[in-house]
């Protein structure tokens, strides 16, 4: 009982903190004078991270197994990974725009997990025989980390698309100073510099210049985070295959969930291939990554919604009484 109460408290704290962080984020976007707010939002994310960690540990102790065995737990785990992704650049003293993606992502996953419709899933359940394996930790944690990183990366790519297709970006124009401060400009900056000198092409206006720089940033960070997500996804799928060969009798069963994981993998493989080709890179890879965003959600949610196949542990019904 004490565990349940603790879990309840932690859930609510983390969710409220994330909500506040989001509001702060919007405020800093609108009014760039509040420099202190940025720091407080970082502290808020830190609080969220510790709450979620506490939540997961509580659940672990309470249920006796790693709390990633059903959809609710994996959603909590997903928002935990988002908060980690959020904090990595913070600890490296890099400020970047990843946080504008990760904070709302944490908010939404956390919100959905604690959403009223899914309350009946909140009780921790017993582990069915097939899940009692050491592979559970490796497979599920890798898959969910992969999903989290790929979601962030594909959102960055989607942002790139939006910015590219919009004629004028008011925020960028207005907040030159802010952007200038917050870009972790190492490589990109150098490249810009090189290009400008070599080609003698200076950008006609600062607005276009910052827009170009923002696109470069999005492309760069999108690629980096998608790379690590792809790595996690690969390890997750492979460990899943090895596990399946221990539990289900074959390393590949064409189960809907694993098929969709493979589709996701293929889509992001296409993304990395489009980047190697000069004629296809840039926008095309961003489009592929944005398609990947939908595919991940189908893989992560859609298959569970249908409740088909061997991965039925996380299935749920939306109309529940």
């Amino acid at each position: 009982m004490i565990f349940l109460t603790l879990e309840h408290i932690l859930t609510h704290i983390s969710f409220s903190v994330v909500s506040i962080v989001i509001i702060i984020h919007f405020l800093t976007l609108l009014v760039n004078e509040f420099v202190g707010l940025y720091d407080s939002s970082e502290k808020g994310m830190l609080t969220t991270f510790f709450c979620l960690t506490g939540l997961l540990i509580t659940r672990w102790i309470y249920s006796g197994h790693l709390p990633i065995s059903d959809l609710y737990e994996s959603l909590i785990f997903l928002s935990w990974i988002f908060s980690i992704i959020h904090m990595v650049p913070y600890f490296k003293k890099h400020k970047n725009y990843l946080s504008t993606i990760t904070a709302p992502s944490t908010f939404f996953t956390q919100g959905f997990a604690t959403w009223g419709l899914l309350t009946d899933m909140h009780q921790s359940k017993i582990l069915v025989p097939a899940l009692q394996s050491q592979w559970l930790i490796m497979h599920v944690s890798m898959m969910v980390s992969g999903y989290a990183a790929l979601l962030c990366g594909s959102l960055l790519s989607a942002a790139l698309l939006v910015i590219t297709f919009r004629k004028v970006i008011r925020i960028v124009g207005k907040n030159n100073n802010l952007l200038n401060d917050s870009f972790p400009v190492d490589e990109i900056q150098y490249m810009m510099e090189k290009k400008s000198i070599l080609k003698n092409t200076f950008f006609p206006s600062s607005r276009n210049y910052y827009r170009f720089q923002l696109i470069q940033q999005l492309d760069h960070w999108g690629f980096r985070i998608l790379s690590i997500g792809f790595l996690f996804l690969t390890i997750g799928i492979l460990s899943g295959a090895v596990w399946a060969n221990e539990a289900w009798g074959s390393y590949w069963n064409w189960d809907p969930k694993e098929t969709w994981a493979f589709i996701t993998w293929t889509i992001f493989a296409i993304y990395f291939h489009t980047r190697t080709n000069k004629n296809l890179e840039g926008l095309n890879s961003a489009i592929v990554a944005s398609i990947g965003f939908l595919i991940i959600w189908i893989c992560y949610f859609g298959v569970n919604l249908l409740g088909i196949g061997l991965h039925s542990y996380g299935s749920f019904t939306l109309i529940s009484n």
Partner: protein
């Protein structure tokens, strides 16, 4: 224009090093040397044999106009420590549409000669490969949307001709294209095969340039050779690693970044080969065996393809010694186990193991999985008669909840409306008993020996006998597939790491095959000798090299390093 400041510090970790800033050279013991000396050196002393070949990658050019302008001027820089490149970089893939003068008389022959090269060029075409991957993804998605493995009648109903899906998709499509068994349909397998061929072609065509580059390294072992390059430079007190970090951070790629995609491709091919072997050379079968009974492995297994050949181990007889379940406190099934004994032809026990879900038995290439269970019989004693064995029938097997039932007739068995006691069980823990009217009487545990009184009869449930659902297989493809998995994991990690600057500080050999300028670098004692060569505008390349080399930090003697750190800090 703060960003144009070239003295901006690099993020990489540089131990015991200084940046070549004049302010850091206040210490008189540090020699200040001119960063760029474009002279030829004749000393041919010990060189450490480190060679770095780095090529600009086009990834970082994103502005369209820059890209267009730069199309014919991408840079390639090779760093190495000896002989100059003998072979010029050429696209070895054969896809460059080179024109071979063919005489009219030998036209047909010439065409035949060029055919493999053309086919290779088409197959290694990137858009084609992307198209293949995309189609495979779409087919797989279709495979999850269309119910698989149903009878034709199901598809007649689901995709009727009168009301076609999207205006054209009817059962005819499903059955003709084999979409009712998507993952073994000719369309899907053909697509996979095509992708495999593309992978091979791509690997082959990228392998050639890499081999050429590797051959060229052999010529690049002397400092002389580097100094004979179009551009050469000498950096005293520098390290090749630092240079590598700088070049990697500036859009150059190293060896790992070039080799790992090929590794990924080879791993994929290995997995595909293993999967093919699995599909053609394995045996599978499943069996439900009540506790205490035997079966012969060969009777259960059925071949899956033309390569499936039975082995000695197929004669093994398997005896199910015991089947039992573990339960949670709440009564749910935790795990189920089967105690198996294996006997060879002579009746000698060769192996004994208790298997469970996630813990299969492996013997002589055969794997036995615990996959299912059922209840086969109840041993019942009625008024101290018996015990009788009552066979249990499955009443509900859909979903996760199983229900088995049996019936003990009471009175005249031959009468038309025979009545009796019904017994139901969800698992081996407890049996629910109902009387002749169908009213609930009670629950008994099988081994409690506690009698229950139903209509004056004393019923004792002696035991509930379970059946173990086993799945057997032999799969010669597993080792190959696992090797592919290992390789894929390794090469994916490598590709990821090759993008990080961290790895650049450990790698010394860098190579690339795209782009047009190269840089070689060689560690010669404390100095780094750098040479470059380009096909694009010379002045631009010179500028770029100078710019990059300016950033290479100078190494300070370790005794001085602390001091200087303090000074600079």
């Amino acid at each position: 224009m703060d960003i144009l400041n070239p003295t901006k510090p690099l993020s990489s970790s540089l131990f015991n090093t200084h940046f070549r800033k004049p302010t850091l050279l206040l210490n008189s013991k540090i020699l200040k040397l001119k960063p760029q000396i474009h002279t030829l050196y004749s000393n041919n002393n010990k060189t450490s044999g480190l060679s770095v070949t780095i090529v600009t990658c086009s990834k970082l050019k994103t502005s369209k106009e820059i890209k267009d302008k730069d199309k014919n001027a991408s840079g390639k820089i090779l760093l190495s420590n000896s002989a100059p490149p003998v072979l010029s970089e050429e696209s070895g893939g054969g896809g460059n549409g080179e024109k071979v003068p063919v005489k009219t008389g030998t036209g047909a022959l010439g065409f035949l000669k060029r055919l493999p090269r053309k086919v290779l060029a088409v197959l290694s075409n990137l858009p084609l490969a992307i198209g293949e991957m995309f189609s495979i993804a779409v087919l797989m998605a279709l495979g999850t949307l269309i119910d698989q493995g149903e009878a034709p009648e199901f598809y007649f109903q689901k995709f009727p001709e009168e009301n076609p899906l999207l205006g054209f998709f009817t059962w005819k499509w499903v059955l003709t294209l084999g979409f009712d068994h998507m993952y073994s349909s000719p369309v899907f397998l053909g697509m996979l095969a095509l992708l495999g061929v593309s992978l091979m072609a791509c690997t082959y065509t990228t392998q050639i340039p890499l081999a050429k580059v590797a051959r060229r390294w052999n010529y690049l072992h002397s400092a002389d050779a580097i100094r004979k390059q179009e551009f050469s430079d000498n950096l005293p007190r520098a390290s090749v690693q630092d240079l590598g970090v700088i070049l990697m951070g500036s859009g150059y790629e190293g060896l790992a970044g070039r080799f790992s995609p090929i590794g990924v491709h080879l791993a994929m091919l290995l997995i595909m080969a293993g999967a093919t072997l699995s599909a053609t050379g394995s045996f599978r079968g499943s069996v439900t065996v009540p506790q205490g009974l035997n079966f012969v492995v060969g009777d259960v297994l059925g071949p899956s393809g033309f390569l499936s050949t039975p082995t000695e181990a197929f004669n093994t007889e398997v005896h199910v010694n015991r089947f039992y379940m573990d339960y949670y406190d709440g009564g749910d099934i935790k795990q189920f186990h089967t105690d198996l004994s294996l006997f060879d032809l002579n009746g000698k026990e060769v192996m004994r193991k208790t298997i469970s879900v996630n813990d299969p038995l492996r013997y002589g290439g055969i794997t036995m999985y615990q996959t299912d269970w059922s209840i086969s019989a109840l041993q019942v004693r009625k008024d101290d008669e018996g015990p009788f064995n009552l066979a249990m029938a499955p009443l509900k097997i859909s979903g996760d909840n199983k229900l088995y039932g049996t019936f003990l007739p009471v009175g005249d068995v031959n009468s038309p409306n025979v009545k009796g006691i019904s017994m139901l069980a969800r698992d081996l823990q407890s049996i629910v008993l109902y009387d002749q009217e169908g009213k609930f009487v009670g629950v008994r545990r099988p081994n409690s020996k506690l009698p229950i009184d139903i209509d004056g009869m004393k019923i004792i449930i002696e035991d509930a006998i379970g059946s173990s659902g086993l799945e057997l297989k032999t799969d010669p493809g597993v080792p190959v597939v696992y090797a592919g998995f290992g390789a894929l994991m390794l090469t994916t990690c490598l590709s990821y790491l090759s993008h990080s600057q961290l790895i650049a500080s450990f790698c010394v050999h860098f190579v690339s095959y795209s782009g047009k300028s190269k840089i070689w670098a060689l560690q010669d004692g404390t100095a780094v000798i750098v040479g470059g060569k380009t096909n694009r505008a010379k002045a631009e390349f010179q500028y770029e090299i100078d710019f990059l080399l300016d950033k290479v930090p100078e190494i300070v003697e370790s005794s001085l390093s602390k001091q200087s750190d303090v000074a600079s800090g």
